[in-house]
């Protein structure tokens, strides 16, 4: 696992579904969740919503 350029061993015990190449959130040496790269789209959707567009982001995530 590469963390900001540093390579470190991370346990996959709590996230067995992750595959090589996935971006994951790490806490205390354990991979905890696969990161979906949708932050930017969500922000744009929210800005559009503030300007009167209908809500497109799911209320409770995907």
């Amino acid at each position: 696992m590469e963390l900001s350029g540093v390579t470190r061993e991370v346990s996959m015990m709590l996230l067995p579904e992750a595959k090589v190449g996935d971006h994951v959130l790490v806490h205390a040496g354990f991979a905890m969740q696969i990161v979906d790269e949708k932050e930017f789209e969500e922000m744009n959707a929210l800005l559009a919503e503030m300007h009167g567009a209908p809500r497109t982001v799911n209320e409770l995530g995907s």
């Binding site: 806490h27 205390a28 040496g29 354990f30 969740q33 932050e39 969500e42």
Partner: protein, 376 residues
């Protein structure tokens, strides 16, 4: 891609400005001052670092709740950890922020200076190697944290079991967030219009565990991440809900928080641990707000294997520290007679000043002499 990487500084500033203006406009509609609470130490630090309290309009106030795991760990736990650390046959493994937390009479850092074998680890799993290399010692990991850390301790126990290690133990003081939220809402002194819900806790628990805010209390809650823009987004959502008379649980951290959380983590925690009443520093005992090891894993619970004689722990004493009220957002650190005087980061009396995620430490570091202390 994170927002900070995707947007230029100028763009981020513009988006922040739009969000703040919209928050102000919506709050105006409510006709009173709104009060939102964050219950995660990482949020606390991010809010102070980015100056979000100062950025918000007059009619929106932020308060910090009991979100720093070190801060809610009671004196007695530290006293037990210190008593174990002083034993010749014990090695303590711990996250670094526990070292300076004051117990009743001393701290782990003082015990270490006096010769105790205390090792800072990055992951609880690092304790396995220490245990393997020191078969004649009892290795005790200080398992402190919220729902995010509990599965890492539980997984370490399972790994120790699998490796056939007989000398690795946990001294557990894990805490659960939802019961603490209930206690806060039920306290008539705590007035909150909505919660910024913890991002990393929700990664593990999912969002459903917070549904009771909506159904039982009609209080909105929004899960979010730790970048300043993510926090502003959650405040926009919260203000909008209050302005529209709604109370829903929303997720503004969908990139890592799923409704079902991380099922493997939840299963691992519940295999090793079961809920139990737990003491929170300055707050007291909260039913079903902690975790203790199940019968089947008692052999890994140091308090079962090697109980401390009652006389070995110091009697509790009062210091005048108002940590408990600070943790509930009832008073600000400034209302504490010790803050900034007897209690400073280099000589902390209360845990809120010890941990970098503590409310007092954040006030001291980011507030002193620079800002007007938010909207207080």
């Amino acid at each position: 891609m994170s927002l900070a990487a995707e947007l230029s500084r100028a763009q981020q500033r513009q988006v922040a400005g739009e969000l703040v203006a919209e928050i102000g406009r919506l709050a105006e509609k409510c006709g009173r001052r709104l009060r939102f609470m964050e219950v995660c130490g990482t949020h606390t630090v991010s809010i102070f670092r980015a100056g979000i309290r100062q950025m918000l309009p007059e009619n929106v106030e932020l308060v910090s709740g009991p979100g720093c795991p070190v801060c809610v760990t009671p004196d007695e736990y530290m006293d037990k950890a210190i008593a174990y650390a002083r034993r010749e046959d014990v090695i303590i493994t711990t996250f670094g922020d526990m070292l300076k937390v004051p117990g009743t009479e001393s701290s782990l850092s003082e015990a270490k200076a006096a010769g105790a074998d205390i090792r800072i680890v990055y992951s609880p799993l690092d304790s396995l190697q220490v245990a393997k290399e020191n078969p004649d010692k009892k290795v005790i990991f200080l398992a402190v944290g919220f729902e995010t850390t509990a599965p890492t301790a539980a997984a370490t126990v399972l790994a120790a079991e699998q490796a056939g290690l007989q000398n690795l133990y946990m001294l557990s003081a894990q805490k659960l967030v939802p019961p603490a939220l209930r206690l806060l809402i039920d306290d008539p002194e705590v007035l909150v219009d909505g919660f910024i819900l913890p991002g990393h806790v929700s990664v593990v628990t999912g969002t459903e565990v917070f549904r009771f805010l909506e159904t039982e209390y009609h209080i909105p809650g929004v899960v979010t991440g730790f970048e300043p823009l993510q926090i502003l987004r959650s405040l926009y959502r919260l203000t909008k809900q209050v302005a529209e008379g709604e109370a829903k649980i929303e997720n503004e951290y969908g990139s890592v928080v799923k409704p079902q959380g991380n099922p493997t983590s939840l299963a691992v925690t519940s295999k090793v641990y079961e809920p139990v009443a737990a003491k929170w520093r300055g707050i007291g005992e909260i039913p079903a707000s902690g975790l203790k090891m199940r019968e089947a894993y008692k052999a890994y619970d140091i308090e079962e294997v090697l109980p401390l004689p009652a006389g070995q722990l110091p009697a509790t004493k009062k210091t005048g520290c108002r940590c408990g009220e600070v943790l509930k957002g009832i008073v600000t650190p400034h209302d504490c007679p010790l803050f900034g005087k007897a209690c400073v980061p280099t000589h902390a009396i209360g845990p809120c000043m010890v941990s970098v995620e503590g409310v007092c430490a954040a006030w001291y570091k980011y507030g002193k002499g620079i800002f007007s202390y938010g909207n207080q």
